[in-house]
């Protein structure tokens, strides 16, 4: 059941009624939340639910063992993390490595035929694996003790964040789950605003951009001219932002309605004035996770300037590989890695940080070019797409003036967006109760009519 489907809307509303009617019984609320989480997840495919349950039991057992044997807790943590990563890797990369090993065997003259296994990637496995690693590390470092069984299981299965994050740390989500105080209904109007924002971003704008500007251009770039391809590149950058930040708005809004406050995942990333700044604003829960659990353990900035750059580059490439076992994602990660290193070199020589409008424009374009690799079918196709920028041999078929105009509107709107959101929340808060459903229904209806028919899928479900 997609979070944007009519079934889910009915389910979620019914669930909220049950959930809040249990408001006096904290544990009962957590139990129904856990049941709902597993129900929704297993509804996608019962195997997914089974895998999550088995994985959760293993993690919880490892945590219990760590509490039981404090002298070797770091060893247990190391084993548990290795096993978690291996588990993720098998699901994510088996087919890729099968082909790589097959090709290597072919070129070495071995006549092997590796069997192809039917491995279905459980949606969200990356996200709950990352959350569990954060949890194991926190216990290993003695920052906290393992939580109760129910709380740990809910932390790993909490349905708003289960499918595509945000990746929540134990000190954020688990701490809220553990709280024994009566759960408060938090900022309902902000939650409603976030859900409306998600609908507008995803169902209307991102879908329109995808159908009109992204799909035709990326499917057949050779049929288009340089200016059109340029507009298509910008369009995908905006599409993926609207898609993923819309998703984050939706789950943060849903969690708020359940009485949980999740961290922001996006902070107007295209207003970043440098690549480092971009990564502080884009998919924040992933970039901070990579910083804390890959970059710092690899050495961070503790071994001199040169090593730091190498570590940065490595972390970015790993981030690329996480997105998919394909050269195009590695190139995408490496482009960001080299970009950040270049920024550090410039800053080292200039002696002051990179910033300003010009730096912002350059950053946006670097990010956009890297997105072409992310979106194209493969790196060959991405290079082909980019090489089309120099093509000016036939009339334009698409309205590029309109596209560039819309890009400017997007930036202007983004600039004022934060104030706009706050104002919108205030307006909702002050709106008379009898008027509110009419206004909300009108917005939902308009988005429904403006968007494509059917339920759109989120891009990040596949990672």
């Amino acid at each position: 059941m997609s979070y944007l489907s009519p079934e889910f809307a009915v389910f979620f509303l019914a669930f909220l009624v049950i959930y809040w009617s249990l408001g006096r019984w904290n544990t009962a609320q957590k139990i129904v939340l856990l049941i709902a989480s597993y129900g929704l997840y297993a509804g996608l495919d019962w195997v997914f639910g089974a895998i999550l349950a088995i994985y959760s039991v293993c993690v919880i057992a490892a945590l219990a063992l760590m509490a039981l044997l404090p002298s070797i807790r770091k060893w247990i943590a190391g084993l548990a993390i290795t096993a978690s990563v291996l588990n993720l890797a098998v699901f994510k990369y088996f087919d890729f490595f099968r082909e790589t090993i097959q090709n290597a065997a072919d070129s070495a003259g071995f006549d092997w035929a590796l069997p192809a296994l039917d491995i279905l990637l459980p949606v969200g496995i990356s996200f709950y694996t990352f959350q569990s690693i954060a949890y194991i590390v926190a216990v290993a470092r003695g920052e906290r003790e393992p939580a109760k069984l129910l709380d740990s299981a809910l932390y790993l299965a909490f349905f708003p964040t289960l499918l595509s994050g945000p990746i929540c740390r134990p000190n954020v989500l688990l701490a809220q789950i553990e709280s024994t105080e009566r759960r408060q209904f938090l900022e309902a109007d902000r939650a409603i605003w976030l859900i409306l924002s998600a609908l507008v971003k995803k169902v209307w704008l991102a879908s329109w951009l995808a159908d009109t500007w992204v799909k035709p251009l990326f499917a057949n770039p050779d049929a288009y001219q340089g200016l059109e391809l340029l507009a298509g590149m910008y369009a995908f950058a905006v599409q993926i932002y609207l898609d993923f930040s819309g998703y984050s708005d939706l789950v943060i809004g849903m969690a708020l309605l359940l009485g949980y406050k999740l961290p922001d995942n996006f902070d107007y990333p295209y207003l970043a004035q440098s690549l480092r700044d971009f990564w502080r604003r884009w998919h924040i829960s992933l970039s901070t996770w990579i910083r804390d659990y890959i970059y710092i353990p690899l050495g961070g900035s503790r071994h001199g300037w040169g090593r730091t750059q190498l570590t940065l580059l490595t972390s970015m490439v790993i981030s690329g590989i996480w997105h998919g076992a394909s050269l195009k994602y590695i190139i995408w990660g490496a482009m960001h890695g080299f970009g950040v290193v270049a920024q550090n070199i410039i800053e080292k020589f200039r002696g002051k940080p990179v910033r300003g409008v010009f730096a912002g424009v350059v950053t946006f374009h670097l990010v956009c070019v890297a997105w072409v690799f992310f979106r194209a079918d493969g790196w060959h196709e991405a290079v082909n797409y980019l090489s089309g920028f120099a093509r000016f041999n036939a009339p334009l078929q698409m309205n590029v003036i309109g596209a560039f105009g819309l890009l400017i509107v997007f930036f202007i709107f983004t600039w004022f967006s934060r104030n706009f959101s706050e104002t919108a929340v205030r307006v909702l808060e002050r709106m008379p109760l009898l008027v509110k459903p009419v206004v909300l229904a009108a917005i939902v209806l308009a988005v429904n009519l403006l968007g494509p028919s059917g339920v759109p899928a989120f891009l990040y479900y596949s990672y």
């Binding site: 809307a9 590796l114 009339p395």
Partner: protein
């Protein structure tokens, strides 16, 4: 202060949940017809909400939504118009006034009269702003039989592409290929479009997920085809669908079980209305059969659909091309996720859902479609990585099997497998 209705309200489930419930109720009130369509199309069962429309209170809701939709549609048309002018302006800025002559006749808006009486505005020729027709936007019933084209429109149509001696359709850069279908076609279409583009042949991909011929209230392919072909330069239409059609149909307010005579008659009339309309517009049709499927219900269903497709596309202008032999190369009767090539290597051709294709599978299907064409340049290579040159470029090689018949799992299939592997 507390009496002021505009004072900030404290959040409470007791105030917020009724607001959310009322919002949901209002949306259902205005969109219950669309919800019914959605339910039919995704769950293949009756929700029964449309019956509510008989009550004036419920009909009012639908009416309001339809009015809003109409007004949005009118604005959309204005924006499209402004968009076309901006495109022209950009071309004039770049190319000077002669740009007007060089432009595609895409700005022309042709209005087609169907025998159902609905006025169908055509889309721009490139189809890029073809708004996906939602339930309310669907223009004409799928039951409309092929519209009788206006002779003046037909006079402007390009001639029927000729056939080569080997049965292939001879394409020139004046031709344009329309790609129609469901999510199966969505995966294959970009590969076909790229391969055609390499030979300077334009294409238009209208494929849309979750569509087919069984639920015209959700998406109406016959109507879409009828409003796309006139006024565009389409000369060949490739159709690949069926994955969403192996379910009961709603006929006259009642469910007609899949596969009954009545079901088949209705489905056939929809195939026929697409094929006959295309032929009346000098458009050749290539109809791909659905491959074997990994889910039994769908697999047994597509065998029925394939028979219907085949029966309606065997007049020489339209042709049926089977895909089962290609994607189940080792046993045409069975679904295969992986196929073993003659050299013993395993290629995964289908995705986990048992319906869609991996990239290798898509490329193989694309090559199968490209095999139906004789392209203007000899050296066009089907999509393949440069590192490993394909042994055989189907477009330049003599065709080992007569094209209109399904390719046997012989040399032709082997060639497709090899080129797919090398991509």
């Amino acid at each position: 202060m507390t009496l002021n209705p505009f004072a900030p309200k404290k959040s409470s489930p007791l105030t917020t949940l009724p607001v959310l419930a009322a919002t949901l109720a209002l949306v259902v009130w205005m969109r219950h017809d669309a919800l019914d369509t959605y339910w039919q199309q995704t769950r293949h069962s009756e929700l029964g909400l449309t019956d509510l429309s008989q009550a004036p209170v419920w009909a009012k809701g639908v009416q309001w939504a339809a009015d809003l939709n109409k007004s949005l549609g009118e604005h959309q048309q204005q924006w499209d118009e402004i968009g076309s002018r901006m495109t022209l302006a950009a071309n004039i800025v770049i190319d000077g006034p002669q740009a007007v002559d060089r432009l595609h006749p895409q700005a022309a808006r042709v209005v087609v009269q169907t025998n159902a009486g609905a006025m169908l505005p055509s889309t721009s020729a490139d189809g890029t702003h073809l708004k996906s027709a939602g339930p309310v936007l669907a223009y004409a019933p799928a039951t409309a039989t092929a519209a009788i084209p206006d002779p003046s429109v037909l006079a402007e149509r390009p001639p029927l592409p000729p056939l080569a001696e080997n049965g292939r359709i001879v394409l020139t850069p004046q031709d344009k290929v329309l790609l129609v279908g469901d999510s199966m076609m969505q995966g294959v279409a970009p590969h076909v479009a790229r391969a055609l583009q390499k030979a300077n042949i334009a294409s238009l991909d209208l494929s849309k997920q979750s569509t087919g011929l069984a639920y015209p209230s959700y998406f109406d392919w016959p109507a879409t085809v009828q409003r796309t072909i006139p006024g565009s330069k389409i000369t060949v239409m490739v159709v690949f669908m069926g994955a969403n059609d192996t379910w009961d149909m709603v006929l006259g307010g009642h469910y007609e079980p899949f596969g009954t005579t009545r079901w088949q008659t209705m489905y056939t009339s929809r195939i026929d209305s697409m094929v006959k309309f295309a032929e009346s517009q000098n458009v050749r049709v290539i109809w791909l059969g659905a491959p074997n499927m990994g889910k039994e219900k769908i697999n047994s269903g597509v065998k029925v659909l394939n028979q219907l497709y085949k029966a309606e596309t065997s007049d020489g202008v339209a042709r049926y091309v089977s895909t089962r032999e290609l994607l189940s190369a080792n046993n045409p009767e069975e679904y295969q996720k992986h196929i073993t090539r003659e050299d013993g290597k395993v290629v995964t051709v289908r995705t986990d859902d048992g319906i869609h294709f991996t990239r290798d599978g898509q490329v193989m299907l694309s090559n199968l479609i490209m095999q139906q064409f004789e392209l203007p340049t000899v050296a066009v290579v089907p999509e393949a990585a440069p590192a490993q040159a394909p042994n055989q470029a189907p477009t330049s090689a003599p065709n080992p099997a007569p094209v209109p018949t399904p390719p046997a799992p012989t040399a032709a299939t082997a060639a497709i497998l090899t080129t797919a592997k090398s991509s």
